[in-house]
């Protein structure tokens, strides 16, 4: 149930004790959350631009700063998703240097959770677990189910009762055991901490959490590399538990320490839905104290009312000179539509949150138009199509005749027959 490794090990950042490598998330002495500490100096000379450039086109090009046990050969091409220059969206919201980091197309299950799960399950294997699981708002469930199937691990996944049907189906199809819990995510998460005490299972976001969370760093590594090994001025990140935004920062700090990028005071901006905004509320009030909320938003993948990393995220955002915003469910839907209509990227509700918050930050002058800004899109719109229910009508079927088609288009456009005739003559 434990292994030794010279590259990394668990460390308590509060009392400084080290715990080797084992399935453990909190310091037994002071209960502070554990995190992985690397021997960064040993990585110097290994984690170089040249070595990374000849690595595979996925997150494993960064393997020397990921907690992957010796002997484990990751073969899933996870991550290395496109960093897209968002010129059209930029025009709409007043930005000239805006990029979208598009994890809506992350392999294999179309969300950034594929990154964290691949790192967690490598360790689950090493620790000897034959069953893995998670508490999930959906994307994590999909990622654990798919990757567990491929690794031959059994999966038991707990989700809140009101999860979107697509996310449930996208878990069950891989053969995972899915348990719906009559409660919200915070109820599910609490139950999972109890289950992890009683069952010998590897819960990716409970007892494997320190390993799992490290996978999020790859978003930061990729952003820097895709910008030509430089850091952006601003990063806008959706917040649920508050882990991703901190790990992007950790990635940037590691790159600075190892000299792969020039030091730059990147500002971090958090995005939440107003119906579940404990972290953005704390940021706005200038405090680390995160007051739990009962979630009520269509952005269910962000609906964590008692975010475990909330206090640390709030502090980090404020220390960076950034800010956090939250937007209404109406704005979430508009955000989804705006990103799709301008950049051809269909994101889920969480991406609607991020896009709408990004627009707000420009409108409020918190981000100036020419700064290099990354908007992190973390999930795919095909999983939350119910959020768009009623926004698009199913049109009537048209007979397969040109005249009928002409008439139909005229009807849609509200144009006159003479205009079309003129256009046709040209």
């Amino acid at each position: 149930m434990n292994y030794s490794c010279s590259r990394y090990e668990l460390k308590c950042n509060e009392c400084g004790k080290r715990y080797g490598n084992q399935p453990l998330s909190a310091c037994p002495d002071c209960l502070y959350p554990l995190e992985l500490a690397y021997d960064l100096d040993a990585a110097r000379g290994i984690f170089t631009k040249e070595n990374i450039a000849i690595g595979p086109a996925n997150i494993w090009r960064y393997i020397s700063l990921l907690p992957i046990p010796e002997g484990f050969q990751p073969d899933l091409p996870v991550g290395f998703t496109p960093l897209v220059r968002a010129t059209n969206l930029g025009k709409r919201i007043g930005a000239t240097n805006l990029y979208v980091k598009n994890d809506a197309v992350c392999f294999p299950t179309l969300s950034f959770k594929d990154r964290v799960v691949s790192v967690a399950l490598a360790n689950a294997r090493k620790f000897g677990f034959d069953t893995v699981g998670c508490s999930s708002t959906g994307n994590l469930a999909n990622a654990v189910a798919a990757q567990a199937a491929r690794l031959g691990l059994k999966a038991t996944i707990l989700v809140p009762t009101d999860l979107e049907p697509a996310k449930i189906l996208n878990t069950q199809v891989y053969g995972a055991r899915l348990v719906r819990i009559d409660g919200n995510y915070d109820h599910v998460n609490r139950l999972c901490t109890q289950i992890a005490d009683e069952y010998n299972w590897g819960f990716v976001n409970v007892n494997l959490r320190p390993y799992y969370a490290e996978g999020s760093k790859t978003v930061g590594f990729e952003i820097a590399e895709q910008l030509g090994w430089r850091l952006p001025d601003n990063v806008v990140v959706p917040m649920a538990g508050g882990s991703l935004i901190r790990k992007i920062r950790k990635a940037f700090n590691e790159l600075i320490y190892l000299g792969l990028v020039e030091d730059k005071p990147t500002r971090f901006f958090g995005a939440q839905a107003t119906g579940c905004s404990p972290i953005s509320t704390a940021v706005k009030q200038g405090t680390d104290e995160v007051i739990p909320q009962r979630p009520n938003t269509i952005a269910r993948s962000l609906a964590i009312g008692n975010p475990a990393d909330g206090p640390a995220a709030s502090r980090m955002i404020r220390d960076s000179g950034g800010w956090a915003e939250d937007v209404s469910d109406v704005e979430v839907v508009s955000g989804i539509q705006e990103l799709a209509e301008t950049e051809g990227i269909f994101t889920e509700t969480a991406g609607g949150v991020t896009t709408a918050v990004t627009a707000r930050l420009y409108a409020d002058g918190r981000i100036s138009r020419d700064q290099i800004t990354i908007s992190c899109i973390t999930g795919n719109g095909l999983k939350t199509t119910d959020a768009l229910a009623g926004h698009y009508q199913q049109e009537r079927a048209v007979r397969p005749r040109l005249a009928d088609f002409d008439a139909y288009i005229r009807e849609l456009d509200g144009t006159h027959e003479t205009e079309l005739a003129t256009a046709g003559a040209n």
């Binding site: 209960l31 959350p33 998460n189 901490t193 976001n205 882990s243 008692n306 475990a308 502090r315």
Partner: protein, 93 residues
């Protein structure tokens, strides 16, 4: 009046392996005093230098976060099931 208190495995090294105990505490401060007397080592573990409960411990009463019920001012009811659970997070940095 009595409440049932449940502890996570991480705390049981200070309670001779006991995961459950009953308490006559009237509220959360009362429960902490009770733990102080019954399991002094546990008390040291769950309280910071300021004598307050550490931030990384969540308290639930019958499945509800005690902060939704009024926190320290909530008056325990007979038969309440009270759980102490460390919050799981990634640390600072």
């Amino acid at each position: 009046m009595s409440i049932k208190v449940t502890l996570p495995a991480a705390f049981t090294r200070h309670t001779d392996g006991r995961k459950h105990f009953d308490s006559a505490a009237q509220n959360l401060p009362g429960l902490l005093v009770d733990i102080d007397q019954t399991f002094p080592a546990l008390s040291t573990q769950i309280k910071g230098d300021d004598g307050k409960l550490r931030r990384f411990i969540n308290i639930y009463v019958n499945d509800e976060d005690i902060r939704f019920l009024g926190g320290e001012t909530y008056a325990f009811q007979d038969g309440d099931e009270v759980m102490l659970i460390p919050s799981i997070a990634g640390g600072r940095g």
